[in-house]
Amino acid sequence: MRAGGRSRPAVIVYSLIVTRRRILQLLIGATGSALVLLLFWRPQRLAHLVSRRFKPRLDATAPGVLSEREMQTIVAFTAVLVEGRELNTHEAGYVVEHVTDKAGKTPGYLSLYQKTAALLDRLAGAPFSSLSLEQRIGLMKRHRLTDSDVRIRECLRPWGRETLAVRALAVPDLIGGYYLSPAGWAAVGYEAFPSRCGDLTRYTSAKA
């Protein structure tokens, strides 16, 4: 062993270079083979892997508060999604509560709602909330904004990512948030439900 120098003989170094290349070749080969195998034997698994990689995801931006105009846009959008009509004051309040809560507490949601509002206003060519209900429904149908079922091939397209993010992230969130509120329980005919205290005898009978 030489003091201060490399202790391994040159032949080992040479062999290491060859091994690296070989490893690289093997890796490429193995990855390709795995993809082919997955494609033919486990297409659903491959689809899952692809969609997980390319499906829109929340970013990690800080929570915060939506502007009044952005909130109006989100409420007008949610009204079409959840009821297909204008919401009354209580129902709109449930949307505002959900959106304020999520945007103010969970990273990424403020940004998602802001991008959703910006996209809707841009597609409308005016404040989205100023459109009539029919115009809003028409616009949303045209751009498939009521459809949260995002296909894998859509995830692979480089264009339309904003619309995709709205469909994949904002639509299910807004529908879920609305129906998690008393409006959801009203939709299934409930008067008594978690967090609304009332009649202790109701639970013993077939009364919603």
Binding site: K141, S148, P172, L180, S181, G184, P194, G198, L200, R202
Partner: protein
């Protein structure tokens, strides 16, 4: 009790203001013994429970620990168990969020080695404990009826009438009859009638956060009474960091800190560590010293090992009939048929519990069903 700059003194110091600590504080204070209770978590005022219950239905944990850094748990085993959701730091401890189910152990549970050749016998028997069960049931206000055919004998009546079986219990009762499984009521530490200065249950459906105080929790049942004697003082947001021993190997003081992270010391004649299954072990291990290098009370080396809780396995299914779930947040029917001795040398005991709050919520169904979007799009 004398309070100095960063140093306090008490006759007895109780660590943890939960089920055990709260009850202990009251029992000692009633006997004129000065108690200081150090509680790591905050006070959760009853007035805020309405807000808590609304957060709970949104899937939030209102009892989430303010000390997230030290409350990250992992569990082993094949059955997942969310330890964070089954613990609560605060005055009241885990009674803040428990469901209120107050089952007694069965007499044979105390004699597993003798009867079945497994585990170990307890050093006390059910018969010795029985009168204390009755006392605890009166203190908490347990609603029930002695219709469990597998329960061990009891000498006292339940202080409150039982909650009637739910509408969906009727479905299970019919099915169980065909399978020769008998149902019985679930004893509940929850007011079926006004009791102990607390209102009756108003079926709010969020029992892990009871907004009315109908569910017994020691922050409502025991601790206020203990404080009212003038003998007990509860210090919230005071996390005990370690117990200190003197030259004679006696614990003489604890070091604790609040939100300001300044260390304070409390001396007492006696200490009760009542911080729950996890925190009690952690504190004993944190109290290692040259005399006790493996922590306190740990000559066996078993402190912090073999912790076992009671996991649940949920089984859900769809039925054609409406069962109206989520109108109350607690269970009203169960069967103890499979907790009886039969084959306990081969198999652990288990209870069949029929949940009244189960199944998907409207807010969970709507986004995945697609019905709402399509309906509106075709409007």
């Amino acid at each position: 009790m004398a309070a100095g700059d960063g140093v306090r003194e008490a006759e007895v110091c109780i660590i943890g203001a939960g089920a055990a600590g709260g009850i202990m504080a009251l029992e000692l204070a009633r006997r004129g013994i000065g108690v200081v209770v150090l509680e790591s978590g905050p006070r959760h005022d009853l007035g805020r429970r309405g807000e808590y219950s609304r957060r709970f239905v949104k899937g939030e944990n209102p009892w989430e620990s303010p000390l997230k850094g030290i409350d990250r748990y992992t569990t082993g085993g094949s059955v997942g168990y969310r330890l964070e959701w089954n613990r609560a730091r605060g005055v009241g401890g885990s009674t803040l969020h428990w469901e209120g189910t107050t089952l007694r152990l069965r007499a044979d549970d105390f004699r597993m080695r003798t009867l079945h050749g497994v585990a170990e016998d307890w050093p006390i028997s059910y018969e010795e404990l029985e009168s204390y069960y009755g006392k605890a049931e009166r203190a908490l206000g347990v609603a029930g009826t002695p219709d469990d055919p597998w329960a061990s004998p009891r000498s006292t009546a339940f202080p409150l009438p039982p909650f009637p079986l739910s509408f969906s219990d009727g479905f299970f009762a019919r099915a169980c009859r065909r399978l020769d499984i008998a149902l019985h009521h679930v004893p509940q530490a929850r007011n079926s009638l006004a009791y102990g200065g607390r209102s009756r249950c108003h079926a709010c459906g969020t029992c892990h956060v009871c907004p009315t105080g109908a569910k017994a929790s020691t922050d409502l049942t025991h601790i206020p009474q203990a404080v009212a004697t003038g003998q007990a003082d509860v210090v919230a947001d005071a996390t005990v960091l370690r117990l200190e021993v003197d030259g004679s190997s006696q614990v003489r003081s604890v070091v604790y800190a609040g939100g300001d992270r300044r260390e304070r010391r409390l001396s007492a004649r006696l200490f009760v560590v009542a911080a729950g299954g996890v925190e009690t072990a952690r504190l004993l291990l944190l109290s290692a010293s040259p005399d006790f290098p493996r922590g306190l009370a740990n000559r066996s080396g078993l402190v912090g090992r073999y912790f076992t809780s009671h996991p649940m396995i949920d089984v859900t299914g769809r039925v054609a009939e409406r069962v109206y779930p989520y109108r109350i947040g607690f269970s009203t029917a169960m069967s103890g048929q499979f907790a009886v001795p039969r084959d306990r040398q081969r198999r652990g005991a288990f209870l069949l519990e029929f949940l009244n709050s189960a199944g998907s919520l409207p807010g969970e169904i709507a986004p995945v069903s697609g019905a709402w979007g399509r309906r509106s799009a075709s409007a």
